[in-house]
Symmetry: D2
Amino acid sequence: MPKMKAAVFVEPGRIVLEDKPIPDIGPLDALVRITTTTICGTDVHILKGEYPVARGLTVGHEPVGVIEKLGSAVEGYEEGQRVVAGAITPSGWSNACLCGACSQDGAGTAHGWKPMGGWRFGNTIDGCQAEYVRVPDAMANLARVPDGLTDEQVLMCPDIMSTGFGGAESAGIRIGDIVAVFAQGPIGLCATAGAKLCGASVVIGVDRLPERLAMARRMGADHVIDASRVDPVEEIARLTGGRGVDVAIEALGTQQTFESCLRVLRPGGTLSSLGVYSTDLKIPLGAFAAGLGDHKIVTTLCPGGKERMRRLMSVIERGRIDLGAMVTHRYRLDDIETAYELFGQQRDGVLKIAITP
Amino acid sequence: MPKMKAAVFVEPGRIVLEDKPIPDIGPLDALVRITTTTICGTDVHILKGEYPVARGLTVGHEPVGVIEKLGSAVEGYEEGQRVVAGAITPSGWSNACLCGACSQDGAGTAHGWKPMGGWRFGNTIDGCQAEYVRVPDAMANLARVPDGLTDEQVLMCPDIMSTGFGGAESAGIRIGDIVAVFAQGPIGLCATAGAKLCGASVVIGVDRLPERLAMARRMGADHVIDASRVDPVEEIARLTGGRGVDVAIEALGTQQTFESCLRVLRPGGTLSSLGVYSTDLKIPLGAFAAGLGDHKIVTTLCPGGKERMRRLMSVIERGRIDLGAMVTHRYRLDDIETAYELFGQQRDGVLKIAITP
Amino acid sequence: MPKMKAAVFVEPGRIVLEDKPIPDIGPLDALVRITTTTICGTDVHILKGEYPVARGLTVGHEPVGVIEKLGSAVEGYEEGQRVVAGAITPSGWSNACLCGACSQDGAGTAHGWKPMGGWRFGNTIDGCQAEYVRVPDAMANLARVPDGLTDEQVLMCPDIMSTGFGGAESAGIRIGDIVAVFAQGPIGLCATAGAKLCGASVVIGVDRLPERLAMARRMGADHVIDASRVDPVEEIARLTGGRGVDVAIEALGTQQTFESCLRVLRPGGTLSSLGVYSTDLKIPLGAFAAGLGDHKIVTTLCPGGKERMRRLMSVIERGRIDLGAMVTHRYRLDDIETAYELFGQQRDGVLKIAITP
Amino acid sequence: MPKMKAAVFVEPGRIVLEDKPIPDIGPLDALVRITTTTICGTDVHILKGEYPVARGLTVGHEPVGVIEKLGSAVEGYEEGQRVVAGAITPSGWSNACLCGACSQDGAGTAHGWKPMGGWRFGNTIDGCQAEYVRVPDAMANLARVPDGLTDEQVLMCPDIMSTGFGGAESAGIRIGDIVAVFAQGPIGLCATAGAKLCGASVVIGVDRLPERLAMARRMGADHVIDASRVDPVEEIARLTGGRGVDVAIEALGTQQTFESCLRVLRPGGTLSSLGVYSTDLKIPLGAFAAGLGDHKIVTTLCPGGKERMRRLMSVIERGRIDLGAMVTHRYRLDDIETAYELFGQQRDGVLKIAITP
């Protein structure tokens, strides 16, 4: 049985590179040889044991690669094609999918819904920090990479670009909106870019790190606020003449940023939440206008599926956004444990790491 | 200066009937002689001092009456016409109104937005538990009552019907949705009716009082749950085969009902919040899927304006809902203090009280 | 090779009952034994040669039946279960499906879109006026029939109920809308019911046949207009005080009804078109306000998929609509040629015919 | 009685500069001294008698100026402030406005709706090709011009920018959409810019004039098609690999462009129509998929009101679009007849003419 290298969750604190069998595939699957992948903040949660996955699971959910083999029932693809798949791999046929909620895919449950059920790679099935990955429901998930685009150019499509843009889209941003984005990590930066792309006239980026604020400006932020120096809630009130923002995007996953989002919203505004929280959240009564402010709070799990990937790649292809600058480091799969250490500690100005088997 | 009787907030715990001058009107106003009005749960919050208003303010925000006098710039109406106005009286010309957020009208502020700014009657200007009321921005707010409808038939339009229906509408209920409505007071009952009217196939009403559950059935609930006897979260899980509801409507304003709404939602579902809260709210991490459940939380302040009133009255006129049964008691304005006592203590199965000057 | 009976298109003017092999199924398919099906107006277009299909094709697209056999890759079902499938059978995995446009499924094309591509039964693959039918992409399409519902109760779900309701939904009907539905054949009747279900306060049904107008009232029409006796455009202007309707639904497929819909719309209103047209259409300049009336024209092809079927059946199960009365005639499959003759000539007050193998 | 100069419609073929009294204002009005205005294609329709207005009416609907005088009931403004108002001046209080359809404002009618009723300047009341203009419902319509913006920078806000952007917005453009814009006159150019601003990844501009195609590129078109040399329908089919576009915007007002829009749409796509038509329109059966293609046709009349103007100016202020290049010519009001001649004949590469009293 042929073997491959894969980054495997062993126990809290330990993700190690191991030899595992190359996956078998079923009739609807594809086997993809990974050419580039990356590490996500969620993987660090998994590493720390904050988000539980099965021991022995291959982690990683951002695959760029080449079709190695197709399941017997898969049509419309050929071996050797360059492809990308989303971090979320909807089945297409669950009740959730057919209701427009692909990320909450409950294929296999009696009723067709499961929280986060569309997130399978590195969560409920083996992921893509490996030489090969099995892509389930391949016809719904494999998107061909246009010839002109490099692996690194499309590396953000599977997760952070889809998630960040999704935060802007779910908020229903309209032409002329004022938008604040709290935290300018990879997802927040994509939300900043996404807000501009949706027509916001003013985007305000908030973070505590100067290099991230600088990157926020590159992604289109009109104003940046260093939350380590000024109170962003007060500063946004000042910038907007007391009006507040139409949309506030939370991209960190903490009580403080969530709450700040609410506090900077105009009445009737929308809080679009992207962060993965690790505690209960508090909604302050005043910022919520006691429930009478016509506020909306929306959460978005990374949209997946091949059509989503196609659209995101078309945005990149047309030069409407350049996420290449986010790849700050490059490692071989062999050195992924070192990469995890760097990324987990957020050393050396790291934003995203390209991993190549 | 001619005088009238009016229910006035004096201090926490005291709303009393006083003589006040009949209001003067400006060019855009109308003076309406009240023929029927009612007491709202919010008025009880005011009475208790939980929601602060100016001392000496006339309370009440649900006017049905007759045009007594029109401002010099008001066109399209005649004295003597029977009219109703919403609890919320948008100006029509604020930035908030022109942006579709009439309830958050900030007419008079520099930027045109104010939390709850559209709520003026009995909040920032004198209200309608009186013989006369000044209706501001009359052309935006006065809706003629069709001849065939009685005062009591339209008495719920200004607030509870508009609010309850608004909760169903803001949730985006679609044909075939399963909806739970937590609390079956007047607003919850209207939300139950509104959910059916929007196409829900299954509406589940939750309360602790048998008579309210009985009324919920009259308003269209398919299932009712007595929360004093069973755990509604478990019961709804059972009724839906573990799937959860598409929409949960909160109609009480407590942590417990808010939280239960989240717990019964399917992934991707919508919590539509109508309650007036008096404490910070907690969002439980698990019920919120750590922010990854594609949940939406929307809040709705009672939609107002003459077009809204016209639409609600057309629903009543066509017999699509009968809210007459909600008027459980009738009092003269002279006896309004007694009515407050009864309503504040929720005695005698009271739902709504018709007050006639 | 086992044989079955099937209604087959031979040439314009001839659909005949023939013996054909029972279909083979692939890994994603299911074989369903038909217990009840029906004839649609579209089938009559096919019969007449107005809508071309391949010679030898089994016609019919409204299957109610029992699972006889499951493809090797199909999970979540068992043989012997009672099921229904929509007239439109989306794959779930095409770009169109993943973009929310399941009816325009282009599975198998390079780009994933094909006009009407989701309509396969009796159009591009063998249909269900037969003893057995192969259901493609079974996991996306088979919906279990609740135990309490008879075949005839769910017989309208696959097409006319889904289409008629879809016309109301696509129009974005809101609480308090005034809606006109032009033509009260089976689809128009379902549109009438759907408009009510979406919250319309006033629905006006238009037709030329008294029995259809009577049925329109049963389905919830508030007013009916006999277009053979009065001009419906004038009558609707009168009924609405010159305002016009918020939504006009076209349910016949002729220039006259299309044009009348435009003429009765209020400015900013929506024409929701369901008819299958057979000629170019004309938009009259005046009724279209020269393009400046903020009008919308939306067309809807019958929504399919198992989640849609589940929702429609839940509406029936809860007693929110009774379409049973639409089954005016019953025939054995053996007599389907007679049924076509009756239905094609619209004799004997026929609305829908239940066909049982 | 003080006099002013004004461009007045005398009879078909003649708009002349005349002396007229400076307008009186009512309590809700403002008198604005025009500092810059422009001529619109619609004005040429008026000049030619194709769109009828009253003889003696001052034409023009694009005002930039300074508040000269405020009506007695107008609050929140001061004389001397620089302001802009939309071509459409909604009342804010009509049923149409309160229903979100401000352009179809029927203030003054019994039911509150009138086709194009929000368009008053140079249509039903005196317009702004004059030294002064009366702005009705001033509080709903006057938007302050930010200090940093010149008259010419905001000159496109009242009409073509609002209309062009509106065409993109009404179409519901999403991130990654492919959009075709037929005709690249001023409104088409703004639609091109608006489509990019809404997130389109590919915008295809079609026209017959090289200079307009060049300008289309400046406004963000990814591809331009010279319809005098190639068939745009075939060319778009080629560019999209046979898929078609998600949205086609019509910006000319002819049968040919309308029809081409339909022909290039993917199934389920949206035709967003901005043109002012002068004949009945034909919908070709095939391009319309016989009514089964899930197509949408939406029309948009220029959105107005002060909030709209504020938003558009914020887009300009943030440098997201530069419409200054569209001002190709400048004339004094005294020479407006010459300007009409130039503009009416589309000589000298004219796009927009700044007129200064």
